[in-house]
């Protein structure tokens, strides 16, 4: 890929993920108990550990999003972003395979049920996050 095109893709992915993470953190910060129930609905961890996830994860999303958008500590933020996106993909996949009739909770707590479309969307996000990580490493940003 040419240098200028690579830079353009890098900026689009960086700011795109940054803004998306900031946006998605708002609903979770506003209703932490509701988010903890959403997390426990995935049936990977119980309701008690879910509350810790509900307290910490939205702020991790917010911090990662702000750093990506601002272009500060991009390497570290890209590592966290890729970790979260791959984690979300695993969670959504296992829920889809088990046929759980639950809300994704990705952007809003009461959004639509997990479907093949959601799975594909999460797959695309995970792939794009790994691409961003690779571009960050290639550029030696940080």
């Amino acid at each position: 890929m040419k240098g200028s095109l690579r830079t353009a893709v890098f900026i689009i992915l960086r700011t795109g993920f940054g803004l998306m993470l900031v946006y998605s953190s708002f609903a979770k910060i506003a209703d932490p108990f509701g988010f903890s129930v959403t997390v426990s609905n995935y049936r990977v961890i119980g309701i008690d550990p879910s509350r810790f996830v509900a307290v910490i994860l939205p702020f991790l999303e917010l911090a990662t999003g702000l750093l990506l958008t601002a272009g500060v500590w991009t390497g570290a933020a890209a590592v966290l972003n890729a970790t979260m996106m791959c984690g979300f993909l695993i969670l959504v996949s296992q829920a889809f395979i088990r046929g759980l009739d639950i809300s994704c909770g990705c952007f809003h707590l009461d959004e639509g049920k997990i479907s093949a479309g959601k799975l594909i969307f999460n797959l695309l996000l995970a792939t794009a996050s790994l691409w961003l990580l690779q571009l960050t490493r290639a550029k030696g940003k940080g």
Binding site: I29, A30, D31, P32, F33, S36, V37, S40, G46, I47, D48, P49, R51, F52, A54, V55, I56, L57, P58, F59, L60, L62, A63, T64, L67, W73, G75, A76, A77, A78, V79, L80, T83, R137, G140, G142
Partner: protein, 163 residues
């Protein structure tokens, strides 16, 4: 190769710092914000009251008999605005977060049997409220299995402007 590993090591170190600061910010925000999850909710796992122990559902019919016999106090854990619209007659308004922040002591002093209700059936908030009240020293606590929605569905009496 060594440069890559050095960069990776630096990024992983920074990622740990970001995660740590985020965790601290999350705990601080939730402790201070009125709508946040207070420490009492985060420490429930170590309080010795499990979700199974707090699974004490009461059917709508049984709750109505207790309402008629005045043998239990109803506790409405919905937001105060919902309580103002309508509620079970004689119920005490104790919004969930207020309860989690230790507001039960004064509001429910001297109460005997308590029946907690949220709007929806099998509410996780209602079960958690039972756990909190058991932890706070109340012994006879249960929750309305089908919630206030079930109460309305049965056409049982309500107070307020709702119906």
């Amino acid at each position: 190769m060594s440069r890559i590993s050095k960069t990776l090591k630096r990024d992983l170190g920074r990622a740990v710092i970001i995660a740590g600061v985020s965790a601290a910010a999350g705990i601080l925000y939730n402790s201070l914000h009125p709508a946040g999850l207070p420490p009492a909710l985060l420490s429930l796992p170590v309080s010795g009251v499990s979700r199974e122990q707090a699974w004490r559902p009461v059917s709508t019919d049984s709750a109505f008999f207790m309402y008629v016999a005045r043998s239990a106090e109803f506790v409405d854990i919905r937001p105060a605005a919902s309580f103002t619209v309508d509620h079970i007659p004689g119920a005490v308004s104790l919004p969930f977060i207020q309860l989690a922040r230790g507001g039960a002591g004064s509001a429910l002093a001297g109460a005997r049997a308590l029946i907690i209700y949220d709007f929806e059936p099998h509410s996780e908030k209602a079960v958690t409220a039972v756990r909190l009240l058991l932890r706070f020293g109340f012994s006879d606590v249960s929750f309305l299995r089908n919630g206030y929605a079930g109460w309305l569905e049965y056409g049982f009496p309500v107070s307020g402007g709702g119906r």
